[in-house]
Structures are given as C-alpha cells and as structure tokens.
C-alpha cells in the first residue's frame, strides 16, 4: 500500500463503488507499481521523496485553480527557490534518480526550469575556460539563466533567425542587435521576469561575412537591482493557454555589446583579429538536441496521460447515470461500451508508451556511450527515433487526455477535475522541441533514405531492416482469437508500414522537381512516419510483455493491454490496413469482435490498472479522481473555497442592484 498521508481522507471512507472494483483485481497492484518503477526499491525511494515534498506546506498546490497569472508566477519562483534549500537539506543529488522523482511530483509547476538548460548549453557548447567561469556562478544562483533561440518570426527554421552579432575588432566585442520586429526573441522561458543572463542565438558577422547562427552569453539584467541592462528591452509575452506560472519572455537588443569571450567556443572561435576558426565535431551537440526530445516524453506527455486515465476511470466507476436495464439501479458509466471504448484504449496507450519510453532511454544511453567513444554511426537512427516518437507520443497523449476530459461529462470542464489543466499543458508539447509535423517529415526522410539504401543492397540501421525484408502475403487468421496472437497483428502492422514507405518512394522519384515532389507527398510522408513508429511501439510492447515476470497475474493483464493497443490501432485505421489486401474485410470483422471482447475483459481491471500508476491525491489535484472516490463531497467542498464565494460580489452593488431596481438610466 501507499504510505499513509499520501491520500486525502474524507469522512465517509472509501466509496463502495471503488472498493468493489479493487477487490476484483486479477493481479497485484503493488507488484505492477514496482515493475513500472523498475523495482520495489525504486518505488520506496520515490514514495519517500513524494512524502517529503507533499508534506511540506511550501509546496502545497491547494490554491492553484484560483490564482491569477501574477500569483502563479510568484508561487512558482517561491517553490523553485525553496526546492534548492530542500534538496540540500535532504541530501538529494542534482543528477541522480531523485531529480526524476522530484519532477514527477512537482509536475513542472516551478520556475527557473530554463536555468538547467542554460547550464547544459554552456557545458556542451562552452570551452573549458567558459565552463570554469560560468557554471559555478550558475550553480550558486549568483546568476539566473535562460535560453533565447526562438524569435517572433522564426521557430522551426533555425537558419532563418534574424538576430545579429557583429564582431568589432577595435573593442574586441560582439555587437548584438534584433534589427527588426520579427527578430525579437520571443517565448524563452524564465526570461520575461526572472533571468539575469541568457544564451542568445544570433547570426555571426565578421568583417561583413555571415558565418551562421552561434550562441552568446548575454547579461540582460543588473545583478544589483534586476533592471534591464542598457540597450536591452525585456518583458513577459503575456497570457498563454497555460504555463501561467512561467514568464516566457521577449527580448529586444539595440547595440548591446558583449566581450569576445562570451561566444560559446567549444567548436569554433573568433580570434582577436577576426579570424574565424572551427574545430571538432558538432555532432555531439546534435545528439544533445535529439536526446532532449526523448527526455521530456515521460513528464510532459506520458505521466499526464496516466493521470488523466486515473481521474477519468475512477470517476467512471463512481458516476452512475441512466439505466442499462429497467428497474435496476443506475449503472456505473464505466459499464457502458461507448465509455469503455473511449477510456480503455487510452489506458493501453499509456502502458504502451511507458514501455517504449523505457526502450528509448536505453537506446539513447547506449548511443551516448558510442558517441563518447567517437562512434557516430547510430546518430541518424537516433535522430529519426527522437523526432518520430516525440511527435507520435505527444500527439497520442494529447488526444488521449482530451478524450478523458470529455468522457467526464460536465464535471470534466470544472478546473477542479484537474483535467482542463492537464490538457492545456500537454497540448503545448505538440509544438515545443520541434513542431510535430516537421518532426514526422524528418523521420520520413530517414525512412525513404534507408529504404532506397536497402533496395540498393546497402546496410541499414536495425530498426528499419524490415522495410526490405518483408514479403507480402495474406493474413492467415481464421478466427477472432487469431487476432490475439502477436505474430498475426505484428505482421499486419509491419505490412502496413512497409507499404506506406515503398509506395511513396515511387511518387517522390517520379516528380520532375525534387522539392515540389517532396511537398506534394508530405501528407502521405507524415502518415508513413506515423505507421513506422506505431509499428515499433506495438512490437516493443509485445517484447516487453514477453519479458515480464509471469507472476501475480501481471503478465496476463499486460498481454490483454498489448492486444487492445494493437487492435485499437487497426480498428481506428481500417483503411490503411485493408489497402494492400494483407487483411480483408472479413478479417476486419474478426478484429472488431476481438477488440470489443477485450474491452469487457479489461473493464474488470480498469481501476486497479490506474491505481498501479501510484499517483497521490495531491499530485492528481482532482476532485473527481481521488483514491477514495468521494467525488461529490470533494467537489462541493472545493467549490466553497473559490474566491467567487470567499469574497464579496462587487458586481452586485455596481451593476446588478441598479439593474434589478430598474434604474437602468443611471448606469
């Protein structure tokens, strides 16, 4: 069981509708939690950290749904500052597994996140001398950093950035300018109000020649009174759909000078006389960008989907509406097939992504070791992986969270349900760290290249060898139970992915103009990239299930989820699977039948399956999703705390009273 105190207790105890769900579990929830964490020891460690943070009133999120932008920002700064003290007091390490647990626990509601990116970019892009100078200052928070790349007019296309850094040999300085409005830096986190420094990306000019985009360390605010430095105009970019706690900023530069030593110079340098020198390989930097995309997936996409599933499934077991049979009690909405068809595939997706995420992390750790050993062979594949999976996972998790929100009826729209904020946060993940469409097209480019190489008999990376080795053929399934055999559905996925890629290769080569041909095929290219990543996800889920311990019913329930994930993918993309005749219309009826059967099977374990994610009530912050299922009591109590009920009603005296007393003309 989870430690005491991690669940809020209301009088009335556990809702009997949830209690009965838990009694019926076919597997051990605690063992599944341990398996998800990577061992019982890790589970214990994580819970200890969660307990330490959640029991500390400074980290209380009790008022989060009632705060203004200013209040949220201030609270996030307060938490960030206090967290540094807490980490030291508790003896947690800055780079160990604790950080991961802390992040999950605080769910990103914290300021100074970009400070870490600032430090990482100096460590990766800076010379030893620069690292020695800046990293200690940043570690002690003598300076607060940000990372200024995106401009008002430029995001995706880095070469198009318009900020300039012109080298002045006379003073040995770079002169930084944002020459027009679209060149203004726009969006960088922590820059609007908090940061004193930033790494700014600008087009380097020496003696009138442009050398492309380079990073510079720039002080933007006074270390005395925090006022902007001369020539610097900086501020907050205004309210967003969410991330109200974050001061995403703008930055205008007018002839701001930084010393020559402030250009980050691990790979290149401007010498005092203006000579531009480049050395070493930038591939390691390329690897950093790529691995960031993988590192955000868990906290920013998969965990939010798990939380949304927890809330929606627990609520669906408590909420009763309408009758399935006349004369009976109103049914739990989780018993309606349409509700199962909304929620259970999302649950299966959350598990599928948990496993693929583990796989990707292992892959990248290995890649990092290779690269340390100066072996860059795996880079293109890793890049394709990071682009494609970042897009696939953020997109599926986003739509999953929205489905959960809408499956909770009216109450889902209350902020107190926790679902709207999960949604407005996660949707940003489809855009940041690479816009999803752009990323999928990068993966598609890799696939086409590999396919052509393989066709020409060259060696290709392991993840794409299937493109050239698959023989087409008919699916041998005869009965609906055949579609519960992984080799049957894996084959279907494989065929579909291969067909998506091979079909395109002809189209692209047939065009007269290469660029036009590419643009004319992008809709299908995007699809091909998704098909590839979807296939890999199913395959990995199958393998992960095979490797699970066959005890306490865990492997069995995971197998069901894996089947559901695979069949839901076919059920939702029938056209793509029927196209080349590997599956027939008759097969589709079998897939549908198996798929619907699985919904009823997994329904029985739905609540234990979300319990296994092991979120505390505090981290869910949901009146609908709490462990004890006292939904209505909590909703009523939380609503009373709303400022609209705690403060007077100025609108009454000013407007309603004259209106009601029919003195409209005095308004």
């Amino acid at each position: 069981m989870a430690p005491l105190g991690s669940r809020d207790a209301l009088p009335g105890g556990m809702n009997p509708d949830l209690a009965s769900e838990r009694l019926a579990a076919s597997f051990s929830v605690e063992l599944l939690t341990a398996s998800l964490d990577g061992g019982a020891e890790r589970t214990r460690g994580r819970r200890a950290i969660v307990e330490a943070i959640e029991s500390d009133p400074v980290f209380s999120q009790e008022n989060q749904y009632f705060q203004s932008q200013n209040e949220k920002y201030e609270a996030a700064v307060r938490r960030a500052v206090y967290l540094q003290k807490k980490i030291r007091a508790m003896g947690w390490t800055q780079n160990g597994p604790e950080v991961q647990d802390i992040c999950r626990c605080l769910s990103g509601d914290i300021a100074l996140v970009l400070h870490r990116v600032f430090m990482r970019s100096i460590s990766v892009l800076g010379s030893d001398k620069q690292i020695a100078k800046w990293i200690p200052l940043a570690t002690d928070y003598q300076i607060i950093g940000s990372y200024a790349q995106t401009e008002l007019g430029h995001g995706t296309y880095l070469q198009g950035l318009e900020t300039t850094a012109v080298f002045d040999t006379a003073t040995q300085e770079f002169i930084l300018n944002t020459p027009k409005i679209s060149a203004m830096k726009w969006w960088p986190g922590d820059m609007g109000r908090s940061a004193t420094h930033t790494v700014v990306f600008a087009q380097l000019y020496v003696h009138g020649k442009c050398y492309g985009v380079h990073p510079f360390i720039l002080q933007i605010r006074s270390l005395e009174d925090h006022s902007p430095r001369p020539g610097v105009t900086v501020g907050d970019i205004g309210p967003k759909m969410d991330f109200q706690h974050a001061d995403n900023g703008f930055l205008l530069l007018q002839n701001v000078r930084v010393p020559r030593e402030n250009m980050l110079s691990k790979f290149c340098e401007v010498q005092p006389d203006g000579t531009y020198v480049r050395w070493g390989s930038q591939k390691i930097n390329y690897f950093t960008m790529t691995s960031v995309r993988i590192s955000i997936l868990s906290d920013e996409a998969i965990v939010p989907l798990m939380k949304a599933c927890t809330i929606a499934i627990r609520y669906s077991a408590v909420r009763r509406q309408s009758k399935l049979k006349p004369g009976e009690q109103e049914a739990k909405i989780l018993d309606y097939q349409t509700q199962q068809q909304k929620l259970l595939p999302q649950l299966a997706t959350a598990y599928a992504f948990h496993f693929i995420n583990t796989y990707l992390h292992e892959l990248f750790n290995k890649g990092y070791q290779d690269i340390q050993a100066k072996n860059f062979d795996s880079l293109p594949e890793l890049h394709a992986f990071s682009s494609g999976f970042k897009a696939l996972i953020t997109q599926h998790c986003t739509s999953g969270v929205e489905i959960c929100l809408r499956a909770c009826g009216g109450h889902g729209y209350s902020l107190l349900s926790g679902l709207p904020s999960l949604y407005t946060r996660i949707i940003a993940s489809c855009i940041y760290e690479g816009e999803n469409t752009v990323l999928l097209l990068q993966t598609a480019r890799f696939l086409i290249k590999c396919f052509m190489a393989a066709s020409a008999g060259q060696r290709v990376p392991p993840s794409v060898t299937y493109l050239s080795s698959v023989k087409s053929g008919k699916c041998p399934a005869k009965d609906k139970s055949d579609f519960l055999r992984p080799e049957i559905y894996l084959k279907a996925y494989e065929q579909m992915a291969v067909r998506s890629v091979t079909k395109l290769q002809h189209l692209i080569q047939s065009g007269v103009d290469k660029h036009d041909a590419w643009n004319q095929c992008t809709v299908q290219l995007e699809k091909a990239a998704k098909a590839h990543c979807h296939y890999i996800t199913v395959k990995n889920f199958v393998e992960a299930v095979e490797n699970l311990d066959n005890k306490a019913g865990i492997q069995k329930i995971m197998k069901h989820l894996c089947d559901l994930f695979a069949l839901h993918g076919i059920f939702s993309n029938v056209g793509d699977f029927l196209y080349d005749g590997h599956l027939t219309a008759a097969h589709m009826d079998l897939v549908t039948a198996s798929y619907l059967d699985l919904l009823a099977v997994i329904r029985k374990d739905a609540v234990p399956l979300v319990d296994a994610f092991d979120f505390t009530d505090k981290s869910l912050s949901s009146a609908l999703g709490s462990y004890d299922g006292q939904v209505y009591q909590r909703l009523y109590e939380w609503a009373q705390k709303s400022p609209t009920n705690q403060q007077g009603n100025p609108a009454y005296d000013k407007y309603l009273k004259p209106l009601l007393q029919n003195t409209l003309s005095k308004l």
Partner: protein
Amino acid sequence: MVMNADLRRERAAATFQPELLTHVLDGGAERTRRRREIEALVINDPDFQHEDLNFLSRSQRYEQAIRKSALMVMKLREYGIADPDEIYMFKSFVHRGRPEPLDLHLGMFLPTLLTQATPEQQNRFFMPAWNLEIIGTYAQTEMGHGTHLRGLETTATYDPATQEFILNSPTVTSIKWWPGGLGKTSNHAVVLAQLYTQGQCKGLHAFIVPIRQLGTHEPLPGITVGDIGPKFGYDEMDNGYLKMDNFRIPRENMLMKYAQVEPDGTYVKPLSDKLTYGTMVFIRSIIVGDSARALSRACTIAIRYSAVRHQSELKTGEPEPQILDYQTQQYKLFPLLATAFAFHFVGTYIKDTYRRISADIIEGDLSELPELHALTAGLKAFSSWIANAGIEECRMACGGHGYSRCSGLPDIYVTFTPSCTYEGENTVMMLQTARFLMKSYMQVGSGQRVTGMVSYLNDLTRQHIQPQHVAAARAAWLVEAAAKNLQAELNHRKSKEDAWNVTSVDLVRASDAHCHYVVVKLFTAKLSEISNAAVRAVMTDLCLLYALYGISKNTGDFLQANILTSTQLNQVNQRVKELLAIIRPNAVALVDSFDFSDGYLGSVLGRYDGNIYETMFEWAKKSPLNKTEVHESFHKHLKPMQAKL
C-alpha cells in the same frame, strides 16, 4: 497601419468577390447590411469598450460581462430592437460570441415562463422578469445527475395544510450544479424537482423558486447558493450550485399550464409530453450554427496567419515561403474551411425546417418532429465534435503563437468545447439518432418505404458514382451492419438492453456516417441556390473537397463494404490533393467572406490587415506581469536566494 503585402496579394488574386459570398451566408444582401448596421451600433459605442479580457481575472471578467449585459438591455430598448434574431445578433456583438451571466435568464427562464406558466403566473412573473426586477435561471442538472433526467433527486413535497411545496436537496448528489447565472446573478430559478403529493411521486416538474432577497441580494433562509468555481473557459459565467433545506414556496409557484396540483393535493396529468421536443430541436439547431461560427473564426485566424507567416525552405536558395504553401498545412486547414461552410448551410437548413413545421406544432401536428429530433441530436454531436477538434487543429497549425492567448484560439476553444457536453452529451445524442436509424431499417425490412433523409435505406444495392451516393452507401452499410450485430446479440438470448449496450460502438459509427451523408447532401443541394457563377464555382470545389476528404478519412469503411476499390481510393486521395492546390489561391478571400470584424475575432494573428508582429509586441507590453519593470518576486524570493546560497 498599411495592409501586409502578402495579404494584399492574396486578396487581389481571388477568383470571386467575397462580398457576394457573404450575402449567401447571411441570406441576402439586405441581411448583410442590417447585420453590419447592428454591429456598428455596438463597436462604435464607447460604453461597450473595455480592457483586453485576457488580462483580467475571473472576477473582473464577470463584472465586465454584467456591466455590458445591463447596458445591453437598456440599449436594445433604446434602439427598439425586438426581433429575436436581431437581439441574438446584438447580444453576440456586445459579448463577442462569449457567454454572459444573463444567458439563462434570456434563453431559458423567460421562454419557460412563456411556454409553461399559466396566465396568472405570467402576470406575476413575466413582466417583472422582462423588466429585470426578477433575474432567473433554469436549475435542472444536479451534481450527480445530468443525462438521465428521471434520476434527479431534488424533491418538492406538497403540504395541503399550508398549500405550499417543501423543496429539499436530500443528498450531496442532489445539489443543483452548473446552471449559468445561478452562482451570483439570479434572484429566482426555475427548479426541476420530483413532485410528491398525497404520498406518491409524480415525476419531474418545474417550480419557480425565489432564491435571493430582493433589495439585498442575500440568499433566503433555507437556501445555500454559490459559484461552482473556475472552469475550462466560461470565466464570465457564474455557473452555480443550489441547496435547499425545507424551503417552502406557495402552491401557485409550480408551473401549471400543463400538469397541476389542486389545493387538496390532487394531481392532474398533462395532456402530452412531446412538446418539450420542440425547444430541444431549436437549441440543438443553434449549436450546429455555433459549430459553424466557431470553426469559421478559427479558420479565419489560421488561414490569414498562414498567409503572413514565412518559414523554412521549399527550394534551396529561395526566400522562406508562406506556410500556407506547404501541402501539410493546406491538408490541415482547407478541409476544415470546407466543413465550416458545410455546417453553416446545415445549421440554416435545420433552423428553417424547424420554423416551417413549428406552425404545425402549434396546431398540434407533431408528425414531422421525431425525424427532425433524431436528425438534430446526431448533427449536434457530429458538428460539435468536428468543430471542437477543428479549432484545436487550427490552433496547432499556428505553431507556438497559436498557444498565446493573443491568437484568440485558446479562447475560442475553451468557449466552444463544452457544447460537446451540454444540451445533450454527444455520445448519448449519437445513440438517439441510432435508435431512429434502427427503427427505419426495421421498417424497410418489413416492406415499408421510409422517406426523408433516411430514404437511402430503401435501396441498399444501387450503384454509387457521385460522392453523395458514396456517402449514402457507407451510411447504409454501417446502419445495416449495426442492425445485424444488434440482432446477433439478441439471438444470443441477451436482453434488449444488454444487446444495445454491446452494439453501441457500432451504433455510434452508423450515426456518424448518417450525419456525414446528410451534411454532404445539404451542402450539395445548396450549390444550385447560388446565383453568382464565380461564387458557385469556388463553393463547388469546397463541397467536393468536403465529400472526398470524408471518403479519404474513412477509407476502411469503403474498402470493407466493397463500395470502392483501392485504385478508386487512390484516385480520391489524388483528387483531394489537387483540390487543395485549386482552393489555395482563394483561401484568404474565402475566410474574408465570413466577414468577422477584428473586434469580434479578437485575434492578433487573424487581423484583417495582417500586421501581426507589431501588434503582438504592443499586446504583450500590456500583460499583467509587465505592470512593473522589476517584478516583486525578485525582491521577495530571487534576491534573498542569491544572497543566502
């Protein structure tokens, strides 16, 4: 500011006059003129100006909305605007398409009095409510009950001794929850409660309940009322809760035009309960129109922005292209643009049909109502789901800037998305349509012919060449498949209800296909009514795109049903891509024809003149975090940290 050069070029290259298409959308040049006249009354009125809502707190937004609503009531009378459509228009301009605290008073409380109150009750309540001495709301939904009305738990028990009803909210789940304007604004509510008289439950009835003291606005003894807290949008609306403890109202406060309770407690049954249908049809037809409008706004913003925004390279060495030139961007936006027009025409069709048959309804002829009711339930769900997803697609098509509130898109989304749930939860709506489809299918099976929108079920084997027929064939196939599966489940000796539940995924798909067919059919029918050839040509392209895109999105159904072959589907996909290129030059002119003013659109990215970046900067400078040059958090938290660590 001068117009952005890209947008000027786009407009010059259009093959038709947007003004003429605007007339088609409004229903004639005269209507366009009048709409603009009404909008001018609002936008040129300094009383309706205020700070950007994005910078205001929830309480401030509520206060602004109340202020404007109070003014609005006065000005409507001053201008003598009394036609319901024109009132709706005026209100929409005042609140820029956003909800406001008097919505339920105007849209539910007053109409309920009109249709369900006796003449005596009209005298007592209607005129005071019309004059806003009484502000009312409509309290139906409870914390534990929404969809299933019969499950409501609030009770009204008749006490013949005092000739009063005693109202109670006996459990937490019975607390009224969500009604708009209930939290802080209203002093009365129409409350739906289970009527008990002479020891028997007579089911749900409506009662007029005073909740706040006139003069002080304090809750009355026995009444607990308040705001339900912050939501996903709807900041200006005080959705409320209401708990009643032995609260007594006179017998005459039960709405008794139909059912009655006599002084001694004798219950008199109403004649028919089908009349409530009419109101539901009307409100759902409005939601179809709302879907069209919300999606049109989102398309206007995304398409204008995509014409102004340049990014990356299509060809090495060339300048960065407008992002509207990327096929993936066109594929995201143009089908949605076509959908916005389609929904507009469908919304108008339902409203007109309802008007046409409402005369019959008053005469007591309800024969056409069931089909219209079944159709609007499904179309409400179909259109709101697609518009909801479409708005998000438009927002994401605007990249990072779409996520800023200055784009207007987050606001359009959060304002629109509850319509998937209110006035009938969408899945439940789809299943209502499915019930009608199953009934029609059975009729055909028993040798009867069916008429209207389901007549395609009469002949399940004809050839399909035109997109409209192809859409009908898909619907027919899915209806048939659902009906057969339902029968198969019944044959497994399952109860009727179990069989329905385990077939409901199929049933929703059948309804979805049916609705898609109806939209294609109505869009196609509209084309012949457009007199200007250039406008008709561009609408024909959009209509074809709508139909073919629907096929390409559901290729599985067509292959599985053997309606189209893989080769034919390849041709469909190819044609969709060609249509994207054909529509591209008219994209900006098409959204211009929606004729949204910048004030109404509320978007920096969607400005008519395209001066996006300058305006964004000006907007950001007014943001709350920028009120002081150094934020107080620096002195409170950051500076001490730097000193101590």
